[in-house]
């Protein structure tokens, strides 16, 4: 029987009969604003990503790492992937939903004991497409290597989130790498500025973040992006170089919704 080839099936045939699928062709989608930070414009499957781990200059940690990590997970989540968070009982779920993580496909796993941590993360790799981890303990080299190999094989992206703003007590920002995971891509917030709040008026509305990306292999070339996390509409968008405020060219009185009256 002669097969009828139509354009869609032909494209599929090309995909199937391709001799080689490079690792960089297997990407998970990311938000358009973040693609400039990625080595090939997308997040390669199986990558180990560190966010806010303070590469070298651990002293002045800037706020925003958790939001950037959530924004990174938002792309795959919106495309239908599951996201699991290990540890981080303090994660703001409303904030996760606002940057675009689908809470119907988000699971939160309690922080396991250090000796069982690797087994839990390994169980999630392959079953979900993005795993956010925040280990409180140094990860053993052997475990880190095993997890990296498993993630590469199964195509799960592992995102290690740096210390949150525990405000002086609790975890401090670790120097990169000592936690053990071998990171392919490293995102660091180097500047953060809130807009919309004054001295006694307004409220936190938009935040401009300067994010630097570095890493190894294809991601070794440093990149830098100015982002609104979030912008006035609550989305994650790229920042126009000419526009320093979120309100430039807009009618500020119309943009600021009045505060709700308290009954």
């Amino acid at each position: 029987m002669a097969a009828v080839i139509n354009p869609t099936s032909l494209a599929e045939v090309v995909q199937v009969t391709r001799p080689l699928l490079l690792a960089r062709d297997r990407m998970v989608p990311v938000l358009p604003a973040l693609s400039g930070l990625m080595p090939d414009g997308g997040l390669p499957r199986g990558a180990m990503v560190g966010v806010g781990l303070g590469a070298g200059s651990g002293a002045d940690a800037h706020a925003g790492a958790t939001s950037v990590a959530l924004a990174l997970a938002a792309g795959p989540s919106a495309a239908g992937s599951w996201v699991a968070v290990v540890g981080r009982p303090d994660l703001g779920l409303a904030a996760a939903a606002e940057v675009g993580v689908d809470l119907d496909r988000l699971a939160l796993v309690a922080e396991p004991a250090p000796e069982g941590w690797a087994a839990v993360v390994a169980a999630l790799i392959g079953a979900v497409d993005v795993v956010l981890v925040a280990p409180h303990h140094p990860v053993r080299m052997a475990d880190a290597r095993r997890l990296a190999a498993r993630a590469r094989e199964r195509g799960t992206v592992l995102i290690q989130v740096g210390a949150g703003g525990t405000g002086g007590r609790g975890r401090s920002t670790r120097a990169g790498g000592s936690a053990g995971l071998e990171l392919d891509l490293r995102l660091t917030v180097v500047a953060a500025e809130w807009q919309g709040v004054g001295s006694g008026h307004g409220y936190l509305q938009a935040r401009r973040l300067t994010v630097e990306a570095g890493g190894r292999r294809r991601a070794a070339r440093p990149r830098r992006a100015e982002l609104w996390v979030p912008d006035l509409q609550g989305r994650v968008t790229a920042c126009d170089p000419g526009r320093n405020t979120a309100y430039a060219g807009s009618d500020i009185d119309r943009l600021v919704p009045p505060l709700q009256e308290v009954s």
């Binding site: 239908g80 525990t166 709040v197 006694g200 009954s263």
Partner: protein, 566 residues
């Protein structure tokens, strides 16, 4: 009925509490089957203690502390139900199984042969009782005969538990002593036969909620709207002019209207004829074991689904046909309230084969299955309803669910949680974390409406902070000091005003950080009508010189860091 075709006269056998019965429990043991934290079936003893279907696990255990909770096992339910189906099959062909515990069969030919619907119904009931009595549940089954499966199903249910308030006036259970001994029907109520043409009269007093059993796309919403329009019973719905119902509620409303009038939900001439699609596989060598045949069934189900999909159709009733080496032919129809996805078809084939191959010796095929075929028996146009059944998404949810179960095995059942929407003013109050075993992962928790007894996320919640929300909500608020220019603690008055400008923030005795921007305070006076849970707080947003934005909260003169905008 004004020239309408009468629906096919149907007999329905219902086995109440089937999943409980199958589990081997006695009727006097309090047992409940719980799926996704909800009771799906319970024993009569549990029901006496106040347990009912749809209840939450915690509530059910509260009502009945001795409750034994068992896991649902549809494969086992279906396998055991095959014994009942085979008994019914001895009387009439073309049995249709809706779910384990309920089957329907058209009665026209058989009742003429056996001498009337009542005789047939009682003979079937007698045989089914004999099967169930062997399991210790003699009164669990009921039989109803009426025009159309919807009315027959209600008749069977009515035979067990008459509708409390409004008893249908004429169509009461008529025990016929010459056929079966009345003692056999004790505890079950027996058989209800609605005379031909009297279905509308029989259905009239039933409440609207029973429409949910018909194959309507979204019965809950429709029943809700009809209820708010002041319609309480099926008689109220049936009394409306058909043209007006169609104009206002569309096809869905027409289907409900037809059901209420005792007709088929669709006029017969608008039904799609099933296409000549038959997928089959020859098993070589013949399959003696269920798993071998079920493996083939999975690919058959996928093929059937793909072929129907290319025709723009979805299957609501599928015929499963098996032939053995010795020429025995086994056939069974399975119906689904929605449309059958490939996974659902494959499940049903597996259950059916399990029932056949592992059944009693008298009914078991004498040799291996050599041919397996699937025939779509009833089809509907494939609409958006199929969306949820698309294989990719479900497979993904399944895979994630299995991994979560494994993590629960490693860390304990409450270690994996998923977000669920709640209402509230504080940053951590708007979304709650519920254990993953308490929810159905394939269903959206955000699209469902308000749940009774839960803070409604759609309520206005005045005083709630506008987005963006903080990315870190501290599980335990951290104590801090907010100081003014003179080094004094900032106080918020009862009118919700700060007495001075906050200029410094000191966390737990650390160094004082300068406040560069602030907004607020926004007071929230919550649950003032209930003194024990009353909370009076005010919230303040500050940005400190080191770049952190915080959400502070003052309560009883003390300041706390409630959340951090990380």
């Amino acid at each position: 009925m004004g020239g309408e075709f009468a629906p096919v006269r149907t007999l329905v056998v219902r086995c109440a509490d089937w999943p409980v019965l199958v589990s081997g429990a006695r009727p006097d043991e309090p047992v409940a089957v719980i799926r996704a934290n909800r009771v799906v079936a319970c024993s009569p003893a549990a029901r006496r203690d106040g347990v009912h279907e749809g209840q939450r696990r915690r509530e059910a255990q509260g009502r009945c502390p001795a409750l034994v909770v068992i896991e649902p096992d549809e494969a086992r339910d279906a396998r055991v139900f095959e014994q009942v189906v085979q008994v019914v099959e001895a009387f009439a062909p073309r049995i249709e199984i809706t779910r384990p515990g309920r089957c329907a069969v058209p009665t026209r030919g058989p009742s003429r042969y056996f001498g009337g619907d009542e005789v047939l119904a009682h003979r079937i009931a007698e045989q089914v009782y004999a099967v169930l009595a062997g399991k210790g549940w003699p009164g669990a089954a009921t039989v109803g005969v009426a025009d159309g499966p919807f009315a027959a199903d209600l008749a069977a249910e009515f035979a067990r538990q008459p509708v409390p308030a409004r008893t249908p006036p004429k169509c009461e259970a008529k025990p016929t002593p010459d056929v079966a001994k009345a003692s056999n029907f004790e505890g079950g109520g027996g058989v209800v036969v609605v005379p031909p043409g009297a279905s509308e009269e029989f259905l009239a007093p039933f409440p609207l909620e029973v429409l949910g059993r018909g194959a309507l796309a979204d019965p809950v919403a429709l029943v809700d709207v009809l209820g708010r329009l002041g319609l309480r019973t099926l008689a109220d719905v049936a009394g409306l002019p058909a043209a007006d119902v169609l104009a206002r509620f569309g096809l869905e409303g027409r289907a409900a209207h037809r059901l209420a009038r005792g007709l088929d939900e669709r006029p017969p001439d608008t039904r799609l004829p099933p296409p000549m699609v038959r997928v089959e596989a020859v098993l070589e060598p013949p399959a003696e074991r269920v798993d071998t045949a079920a493996f083939v069934a999975k690919s058959l189900a996928d093929e059937l689904h793909a072929r129907l999909e290319s025709l723009g159709l979805a299957c609501t009733r599928v015929g499963i046909l098996a032939e053995t080496e010795h020429g025995e032919s086994l056939e069974r129809l399975w119906r689904h309230e929605g449309t059958l996805s490939p996974g659902a078809i494959a499940d049903r084939v597996r259950w059916q084969l399990d029932g056949w191959l592992n059944g009693s010796a008298a009914h078991r095929p004498t040799s291996g299955i050599s041919l397996l075929a699937l025939i779509p028996d009833e089809v509907v146009g494939a609409t958006g309803r199929q969306l949820g059944f698309w294989g990719g998404e479900t497979a993904r949810d399944d895979r994630a669910g299995r991994a979560f179960a494994r993590v629960q095995g490693l860390l304990g059942p409450d270690a994996v949680t998923v977000p669920e929407p709640r209402g509230g003013r504080g940053p951590g109050e708007q979304i709650d974390r519920v254990p993953v075993h308490a929810v159905d992962l394939s269903e959206s928790r955000w699209s469902s409406g308000p749940v009774h007894g839960r803070r409604d996320p759609a309520a206005p919640w005045p005083g709630r902070l506008p987005p963006p929300s903080p990315a870190i909500v501290h599980p335990q608020p951290m104590a801090c000091d907010v100081v003014g220019p003179d080094g004094e603690m900032v106080r918020v008055s009862g009118r919700g005003l700060a007495d001075t400008v906050p200029t410094g923030l000191r966390v737990a005795g650390g160094a004082c950080v300068e406040v560069v921007a602030w907004a607020g305070p926004w007071p929230a006076d919550e649950r003032w009508w209930d003194p024990p849970t009353h909370r009076r707080r005010a919230r303040l947003q500050v940005v400190t010189a080191d770049g952190w934005a915080r959400l502070l909260m003052v309560e009883g003169g003390r300041w706390w860091i409630e959340a951090t905008y990380d």
